[in-house]
Each structure stands twice: as structure tokens, then as C-alpha cells.
Amino acid sequence: MLKKTGLLFVLVAILVVALSGIGIAAAQDVSELTIWWAQWDPANYLQQIGNDYEAATGIKVTVVQTPWGDFYTRVGTEWAAKGTSYDLIVGDSQWVGQGVTQGHYVELTDFMNENDITGSVTPATLQYYGEYPFGSGKYYAYPTEGDANGFAYRKDLFENPDEMAAFEAKYGYALAVPETWAQLRDIAEFFTRPDSGLYGVNVYTQKDYDAITMGFENVFFSYGCNWMDETNNVLGVVNADACVQALDLYKELYNFAPPGNTNSFFQEMNDSFTNGQAAMIMNYFAFFPALNSDVNPYKDSTGYFVMPKGPDGQQFAALGGQGMSLNSYIDDTRKAAALDFLKWFAQEDVQKTWAEYGGYTCNINVLGSEEFLTQTPYNAAFAQTMTFVKDFWNIPEFGQLLAPTQSALSGFVVAGQGTAQEALDTLAEEQDAILVETGVIQ
């Protein structure tokens, strides 16, 4: 017994030591490329593209998918370990700052310029998915999956003559797809009928990572607001009067949402649409394919529209989507092989295939083609949206800035704490403190 126990213990100890000794495996032949992405349908489409690549070149492409809620943590961990588990990564736009300043991404400027990739994608996507810092002309990612917020709505309700007449009688203008946030608010109010289980609109409220900030930004940007001015100031910027109005409007929209959406993101949006509770929902275009399937009983009467305009006619949509970046920790042969794939992937006909599979291409020509625009009921709205997307911070401090933003927005919108002015005042102070501490503001 004694011997056995001792032996077992020694064995365990040896195992620990042995494992700790084993470093990361030595360089391999490049017969396989690994791409990391979140777990969702577009990643499956990318795997199809990868299969096409294997058929063309013999190099196997594997898309490793991690659930969304886990993706950033996983990537952060891999970065910390300077890991080489992936060659290419389809990363969120706000990661670029970290990826660049902390050295996880390889600069692709020369590669993209030399291969005429820079001009092949829409300027907005190139800027938000690939460029760091803004305006520097330095690129670190190839815009892969374009995405932004849009709205889905119930045409059967909007085009019902009785509803149209009642709406016009009440609000003095015709019921149609809203042009402005004020109209959207009216329509949401109009369709909010708790007694018959119908609610006007559903918007993001989740606190976990960035959801409520994303949702609110659609209104916030359109009201002419920004997260910081040119000198990185936030005081008086984030809490300007227009922003307070924007937040009040977002809160109103939340009040027209179906009950139970206190911590909701894209899945809950689609759920409340398919179970008939919401007349309009905000969501990323990437999640609209589900509404175009039999899961949605209103499939044939579902329409899509772009973000409405603010009071001064400004129009913005919060950016989702990801660009593809190259891991800086892999060896040069693997880097070269990965770049070969990128070059192949960026070709117009491959991008066309990508769009056919269901990916949201950022290629200008493909986006503008008649074929693409009529492929699905939402592609036209998507192509339009891609011209006015806007994103939040992509500086390395975004995580710190995001946390108080999520708290403040969720606290006011969902829990009804304080006023919009108070919420944004507190937020501005907190963000200011973070920016001062990290040296972004001198």
C-alpha cells in the first residue's frame, strides 16, 4: 500500500514535470491552416470556402469555432500565451488595437497594397476592420464578414389597411418603414398592445460584453454623438444634450419591448420575432438568415430596413463583423502559407462564392452586383448599411471603457436607475478617469 501510494504520487509528480518540460511543438509542414472564429453559421460558410481552397491547392483549412460568449476570452488567453494554435483569426473590429499594440497581429499594409486588395473592399469596412490607428493607412486585417445592425419588421402588420388608417389618424403621417428614430418610436408605440401580446420593438439590452452599447450606438451616433472628440475627451462629449436625448429614446424603445428582455442579445431578438411578440426587432444582419427560414412563421411577410436617421438627418449603423488577421507568433513559412490563402480569398470570384454560401462579403463589386442585392430579402438593406457603418473605440483600453458603459446603460434603460442625464454624466466621469489613468488623455 505504502509503496503503491508512493509510486502513484511519484508518477503524478513525474507527469507534472514532464508536461511542463514539453514546449510547444516544433515547426510543422504547412499542409494545414487553422482559422479561428466564433461559432455561428458564417464560420460554417467559411469552412466551405476552406474546402474549396483544399480542392484547389491541397492545403487543408480548418475553421475552429468557439461560442461567442467565450471567443474573446479564448483569444485573449491564446495571445497571452503567444500561442500558435491558429494561423488566421477572424477577430472583432475592436480587437485590432490590442492586436496591434501588443504585437499579436502582423501588419498587412504592404501585402494588401501590392495585391490590390486595399481598393477591392468598401472604405468603411477597411477602416473599421483593418486600419489602426484610424487614418494611418496601416492595415492589419482583411475585411471578411461585414456586419452591422439593421431592423426586421412584420410586413403583414405594416401593410394592413386598418392598421395604416389607424396609424395615420393617430400620428398624422402614413405608416411605412420609419425614416427617423422619432418615427420608429411612434410605430413602436402604436404596435405595443400588451392585451393581444404584441409589442412594438425589441432592442439589445444584454450587459455581459458589448450588446447594449452596440444597440444604443445606433441611436447615439445618429443623434450626432461620439464616444470621444478629436483630442480623446469624453467629458461634455458623451454626456452632451443630444446624447441624453438619444438615451431617452432608447429607453422609450425598451419600454415598448416584450417583457423578459432585460438581458437580451441577438438570439432573444429573433426569438421575440418568431414567437410573434415583436413587430420590429433590431439585429445584426448576420442573424437574419434564421428569420428567412421556416423557424420564422412570418417568414414570407418579414421585411428588413436600415437604421433610421437622427434628428439632423445623420444616419449610422453600429458595426459588427470581423476582419481576418495573421498571427504574429507563427513561423515564417506558415505566415507565407496563410498569406497565400488570404490573397486567394480576397479575389473577386472567391468573394462572390463567399457571398453565395451566405457570407457577408465586403467586396465593393460583389456588394454592388444585382445578383447579390436580390439574393435574399435583406441583402439590399445590408449593402446600403455598409455605407454608413460606425464603430466604437478600437484602442486597447476598449475593454475597460466598455465595462462602465454597459453598467450605466443597463442600469438606466433596464433597471430605470436615475435619469439619462445622470447615467451619462456618471459614465463620462468614469470613462474620463480610465482614459486619464491609462494616459490616453494627458
Partner: protein, 331 residues
């Protein structure tokens, strides 16, 4: 259930008690039984609801108001175990023409999806099993030894040491995760089975040592003394006399350790990615392409619950007796 017979009493205990003689205790016991059964039903509603949701088609899981009656479907389980992709118009028609689809493909097709492989959940369940079983065995083994030593030998600073061991259980997972994360990254234990096994073993140990020491304390030392005088060695005495008598305690400790390792979430969330990822962090992350896949989540929860139920029910007599007689009483 509620039917009472005198045989269900332990006669010795009550025979001399004045207040328990006559019909009153019968009525009181009946009442008690009825209340207890009602409480059990109330307690189990969420679990039953989970079981029902697992067999609901996705649509029925989110109806307003909630549906109690529905046509059972295996959608949740198919979605749990497979990876699928959405089919678009042309492909869909093509798929609908096909006749070579099996039942799982059919279910996927009803959601306009094509099965393209096995989901990660299967391997995560296997990871859970490997990690939970190994760490349970190790922690019970180490704990029995340590508990025996603490119970029988004079160890300098014993009380402090024991308190130290127990106090390990007080550390919130999130508190120790950061340094363990750094340490594991250094030595290559991050996202490995061994790393998780060592971690769970050490966390289980603190509680296991305490629990088992209580049991071993209860075993009269006279038996061992006699055995030692009879020429047994310490180890023989330990193996042949102490261990058999401590079986109940060992069983109870096993159950507790297994439940902890099996259900643990925070460490697994932060210290594993995919090679050693266990099921708990994955269940709330099960997402479809559109809505929250409640049926799938429920199916996953059910699949995940089964081993614990098996272990617990196999051991429940030990578990109850274990805690009942386990007397952490004589400190």
C-alpha cells in the same frame, strides 16, 4: 405514499414516549408525509420543466404563454449532438428531394438545416467524465490516507494544519484562478486534463479530509490496538480494519467529490478551451444560428444530469447514512 403502517416506525424509539402514544402521532405523521410529498413536487417543478423542454420542438419552447402540452420531438437532442448548417433555397429543395436521409437528418431538415458533423458537446461530456472520475478517485485516496494520519497520529500543529486544509475550500474559484492560470500557462497545464484533475483533486481534498476524519474518528481505536498486538503492521491494520469500517464515509465522500468535479463551472470556464473543456461552461453557450435553443440547452442539461443521478442513487443509502452517522460531531 401517505399510507401509514406501524411497521414504518422504529418501535423502540417511541414505545416509552408519552406524547407519541395513540392516534395523534399517526395523524401527525400522515400530515408530515403529505406536506413532504407536496414540497417534493414543488421542488421538482423546475427539473420536470427542464425535462419537458428537452423534448419540445424549438418553437414550442418559446411560446407565450408557456406550453404544457406539446408533441414531443427529438430536435433538442439532435441539435445537441450535431453540428449543422443552414440550407438556402436551392439546396433546400434539393435536400427535400433526397430519400436517403436518416431520422436525425430529417429532424435537421425540418429546421432547414443539414447535419455536417458531430458537435463538441460529445467530446466535452467525455472530458467531464475523465476529469471528474480521476479527480474523485485521487482526492478520496489521498483524503483517506491523510484523514487516517490526522485521526490516529500525533502531528505537531495538527489543529492549525486541519484548519489550513479546510480553509482551502473557502477560496473563491475566481480568486485562485488568476495565479493558477499564469502558473498553468508556464508549465503547459493550461487546457489539459491533468491540469483540471490536479486542480479538482486539491479542491476536493480539503472537504474530503475533513469529512473522512470525522468517520475515522468514530471507529474505535481498540480494534486496531488489538490487531497491532496480534502482530498486524500498521498498514495491515489500516487496510483490513479501518478501511472496511470507513466504507460508508468513503462512499459519501466519493459522491460529494464527484458532484463537485462534475458540476464545476468557474475553473473550467477560465482554465480550459477545447482540449480539456468540460460540459458545464458549454451548456449556457449552446447557440443556434437564430434564437436561444432552449430545447438543446435542456437536452444538454438532461444528458449532463444523468451520471450524477446514477452515482447518487447508487450511493444514496451511504450518502444519507454517511452524513447521518458521519458525526462531524466530536471535533
Amino acid at each position: 405514499m401517505a399510507a401509514q403502517s406501524s411497521s414504518s416506525f422504529t418501535p423502540v424509539n417511541y414505545s416509552t414516549r408519552v406524547d407519541k402514544v395513540g392516534t395523534r402521532p399517526m395523524v401527525a405523521n400522515l400530515m408530515r408525509a403529505i406536506i413532504a410529498v407536496m414540497l417534493v413536487c414543488l421542488t421538482l417543478i423546475p427539473v420536470v420543466w427542464m425535462g419537458m423542454t428537452a423534448f419540445k420542438p424549438l418553437k414550442d419552447a418559446i411560446t407565450v404563454p408557456p406550453k404544457v402540452f406539446f408533441t414531443p420531438s427529438l430536435e433538442g437532442f439532435v441539435n445537441l449532438l450535431t453540428q449543422r448548417r443552414q440550407l438556402n433555397g436551392a439546396e433546400l429543395d434539393q435536400f427535400r428531394q433526397r430519400t436517403d436521409l436518416n431520422w436525425a437528418d430529417q429532424i435537421a431538415l425540418q429546421q432547414q438545416q443539414q447535419i455536417i458533423g458531430q458537435s463538441q458537446f460529445v467530446s466535452q461530456l467525455i472530458n467531464s467524465l475523465i476529469i471528474a472520475v480521476t479527480s474523485t478517485v485521487l482526492s478520496v485516496l489521498f483524503a483517506v490516507l491523510a484523514a487516517y494520519a490526522f485521526s490516529r497520529f500525533h502531528i505537531p500543529g495538527k489543529d492549525d494544519l486541519l484548519f489550513f486544509i479546510l480553509s482551502q475550500r473557502m477560496l473563491p474559484a475566481v480568486v485562485v484562478t488568476v495565479p493558477i492560470f499564469l502558473m498553468y500557462r508556464q508549465v503547459g497545464l493550461y487546457d489539459t486534463h491533468l491540469g483540471m484533475i490536479l486542480l479538482y483533486t486539491s479542491f476536493n481534498l480539503s472537504f474530503a479530509v475533513w469529512l473522512l476524519k470525522g468517520f475515522i474518528d468514530e471507529i474505535p481505536t481498540e480494534y486496531e490496538e488489538a490487531a497491532l498486538v496480534d502482530g498486524y503492521t500498521r498498514l495491515q491494520a489500516f487496510r483490513k480494519i479501518v478501511l472496511p469500517q470507513a466504507m460508508t464515509g468513503i462512499a459519501a465522500t466519493t459522491v460529494f467529490s464527484f458532484i463537485f468535479s462534475w458540476n464545476e463551472f468557474a475553473f473550467a470556464l477560465m482554465l480550459t478551451q477545447d482540449k480539456a473543456r468540460t460540459a458545464p461552461p458549454q451548456i449556457p453557450l449552446i447557440l443556434g444560428s437564430g434564437g436561444v435553443e432552449w430545447s438543446t440547452i435542456a437536452a444538454g442539461s438532461m444528458a449532463f444530469l444523468i451520471p450524477v443521478v446514477i452515482v447518487t442513487f447508487a450511493q444514496w443509502r451511504h450518502l444519507l447514512r454517511g452524513v447521518t452517522f458521519g458525526a462531524i460531531r466530536k471535533g
